[in-house]
Amino acid sequence: MGRFIAQRILHAIFAMFVITVVIFGTVRLSGDPARMMISDEAPHEQYLEMRRLLLLDRPIPEQYWRWVSQAAQGDFGTSLRYQIPVSELVSTRLPATLELAVAAYGFTLLLGLTIGVYSAAFRGSALDAGARLLAVMGQAAPNFWLGIMLVLVFAVWLNWLPSGGRGEWRHLVLPAITLGWGPVAGLMRITRSSMIEVLSSDYVRLARVKGVGETSVLWKHAFKNGALPILTFASLVFLGLIRGSVIVETVFFWPGIGLLVLEGVNNRDFQLVQAIILLFSSWVIFGNLLVDILYVYLNPKIKH
C-alpha cells in the first residue's frame, strides 16, 4: 500500500513538471506581454526597457527556473494590470470560487446520488424513466446556455433571484445549479449502473435474507460496494467544477478565479494567467492523487 502511494506521488510530481513546462511555453507563444504594456507609438527603447523590466530579455530556461522556483515559494509575481502580487489577488478571489464550487457540488451529489440509487432500486419504473430523461437533458445542455435560461426565467421573468453578482445565499442559487447541473446526469448514470450490478449480487440478497431494512440494504450494503466507481467519478466531478467555474462565473459575473483568469487572458496579464492555470492544474493533479489514495483506502482488495 505504501509503495502504491509513493508511486502515485512520483507520478504527480512528474505530471506537475510537465504541466509547468506546458503552461510556461503556451503563455509565451500567445503573444508579447511587453507590447501590451506600452502604447503602439512608444519608441522601441521603451519597449526594450519594458522587456527588461519583465525579465523577458533573459534566456528562456532562466525565465522558467525563476518562475518555477518563485512559484514553489508562493511568489507568482505581480499582476501587470492590478499591480499587486498575483498570490494576493488570487487569494482574495479564491473563496468566491470555492463557495460556488462547494454549493454546486452539494447540488450535484444530492441529486445525482439520490436519483441514481433510487432509479436502480426501482429499475423500470416511472421514476427511472424520468431520471433517464433528465440525464439526457442534462448532458445535452451546455452550462452557459442553461445559465442564460435560468437567468431568463428566474431573474428576468419571475424576478425571484438575482441575475448575477455575489452576496447573500440568493445570489448563489442560480450559478450553483448551472455549474452543478451537467455532472448530475453523469453521476446519476454511474450511480445507477453501478448500483444495479451490486443490487443483483448474492451478498445484497443475503443482507435481505438476514432481515436488513431496505434503506440500509441500499445505502450501506450495496452503496459501499458500488461506491468505488461512483467515488472516482464524483471526485473527478469536483475537480471539473473548478474548471467549469470559468464559464459560469462569467455568465453570472461571479467574482471568483474563473472570472479573474478570463480578465487576465483579455489583458495579457501573463503572470496572473500562469498562476491561475498552474493552480487549476495542480488542483487536478493533486486531486487525482487524493482520489487514488482514497480508492485504496476504500477497496480492501487493493489494501491487502
Binding site: 426501482f122 429499475r123 423500470g124 449480487s201 448474492d202 451478498y203 445484497v204 440478497r205 443475503l206 443482507a207 435481505r208 435474507v209 438476514k210 432481515g211 436488513v212 431494512g213 450494503h221 459501499k224 460496494n225 476504500l298 480492501p300 482488495k301 491487502h304
Partner: protein, 332 residues
C-alpha cells in the same frame, strides 16, 4: 387448475408448510410460471431435500418462502405457513422480522455471498444485532463463539478480516455461521456445497448435521445432487418444471422411485460397483411460458404414452407417505 397437487399432510400442522405455491414472472412474451403449485412441509429437527435440474423452480421456491422474489415476479397464489403463521399475508416489516430470525439461508456460492467491504465479524454479527439487539462485547463474544463452532482458526484475530482473506471453504463455513447465528427454526441451504471440494464438502455437511442436533433447526436442502439428499435428508421432494413430481422418505424414494424423472436422476449418480457408463437425461426442460398440456416430463420420458401428453397425472400415493405424479409409475 383441477390437477393441482395437494400437500399430503395439508390438515396437520408442520413447522414450515408450503401449499400450492405459484410464483409468476413477467417476461416480454407473457407471464412465466416458474413455480406452479408446489407443496411440501418440513418439521423441526428434520431435513428435506428439494431436488431438480437448474431452472426447475427450486431456488425460486426458496426465495418465495422468504418473499424475496425479484421485482419482476410475484407470488401469484398459495400459502407459506411457518409455525402457524401465514407468511404471504405479513406486511413487509413483519416479514423482515422473520427473515434472518426464524428462517435463514445459506447461499450457493461462498465467493459471492459475503460482502467484500465489511469485515466477517460484522457480517456474522449483523443478524443478531438486528433481531436480538446484541451489541458491543457480548456481540463480539457471540460472533467468536460462532466462528469457533464453524472451525475458523484464530477467530479472535480473524474477525476483523475481510472475506477476500479467507479460502473458499472457510467462506462457506462463515456463510454457515451467518445462517445459524440467530438459531433459526428453518435454514434453507441453496446448493450448499457445489463450490467446495469433496473432503471439505463432507466436513461441511457434518457440521450442518451437528448444528441440527444441537438446535433442532429444520434444514431444507435445495440441490441437484442426489448424493447430498441420500446423505443428509430424511425426506425428499423432486421438482420438475415448476412442480413437485415425487415426494416421500428418502429411503422409499431411493428404493422404489416411482416417477421416471426421479429414476433418471438416480441413474445419473455414479456408483462404486460396476463400471457402467453414467446416464444423462436427453432433451431440455420445457419453457415455463409454453408448458405442455399433459405431463411436463412426457417429451423426455422413455415411458410416455398418448395419455401422458394429454392430461397432467394426479399427485397420487404410491405407498405410505410416498406420492408421485405419474400414470405409469415405476421403472422400465
Amino acid at each position: 387448475m383441477s390437477e393441482e397437487p395437494r400437500s399430503p399432510n395439508a390438515d396437520s400442522s408442520h413447522l414450515l408448510e408450503v401449499t400450492d405455491l405459484h410464483v409468476e414472472f413477467q417476461t416480454k412474451t407473457g407471464p412465466s410460471r416458474a413455480v406452479d403449485g408446489v407443496s411440501f412441509y418440513v418439521d423441526e429437527g428434520e431435513s428435506l431435500g428439494i431436488v431438480g435440474e437448474s431452472g426447475c423452480g427450486k431456488s425460486v421456491t426458496a426465495m418465495g418462502i422468504l418473499r424475496l422474489i425479484a421485482s419482476t415476479g410475484r407470488i401469484a397464489s398459495g400459502s407459506v405457513r411457518l409455525d402457524g403463521e401465514e407468511l404471504t399475508e405479513l406486511s413487509n416489516s413483519q416479514m423482515r422480522a422473520i427473515r434472518g430470525k426464524k428462517i435463514s439461508m445459506i447461499m450457493q456460492d461462498p465467493m459471492t455471498a459475503l460482502n467484500p467491504t465489511f469485515t466477517i465479524g460484522y457480517q456474522v454479527g449483523e443478524a443478531m444485532k438486528i433481531h436480538e439487539g446484541v451489541r458491543g462485547k457480548s456481540l463480539l463474544g457471540r460472533v467468536l463463539q460462532l466462528l469457533r463452532l464453524v472451525n475458523i482458526p484464530a477467530a479472535e484475530r480473524r474477525v476483523r478480516d475481510y472475506p477476500d482473506q479467507f479460502s473458499g471453504g472457510m467462506r462457506q463455513r462463515i456463510a454457515g455461521a451467518i445462517g445459524i447465528s440467530t438459531t433459526p427454526q428453518v435454514l434453507i441451504c441453496d446448493e450448499p456445497t457445489t463450490a467446495l471440494d469433496v473432503t471439505i464438502q463432507a466436513q461441511y455437511l457434518e457440521l450442518l448435521k451437528e448444528v441440527q442436533e444441537q438446535t433442532g433447526v429444520a434444514l431444507v436442502f435445495i440441490t441437484h445432487d442426489m448424493g447430498i439428499v441420500a446423505r443428509m435428508c430424511e425426506r425428499v421432494a423432486v421438482m420438475y418444471a415448476g412442480r413437485v413430481v415425487e415426494s416421500g422418505t428418502t429411503r422409499e424414494v431411493f428404493r422404489n422411485p416411482a416417477h421416471p424423472y426421479t429414476i433418471s436422476l438416480l441413474r445419473c449418480l455414479p456408483r462404486l460397483e460396476g463400471v457402467e457408463r453414467l446416464e444423462s437425461i436427453d432433451g431440455q426442460p420445457p419453457d415455463p411460458r409454453e408448458m405442455p398440456p399433459g405431463c411436463r416430463f412426457a417429451p423426455r420420458c422413455p415411458k410416455a404414452q398418448q395419455q401422458c401428453h394429454e392430461a397432467y397425472p394426479e399427485f397420487a400415493p404410491v405407498s405410505s407417505g410416498h406420492h408421485a405424479s405419474c400414470f405409469f409409475p415405476g421403472g422400465w
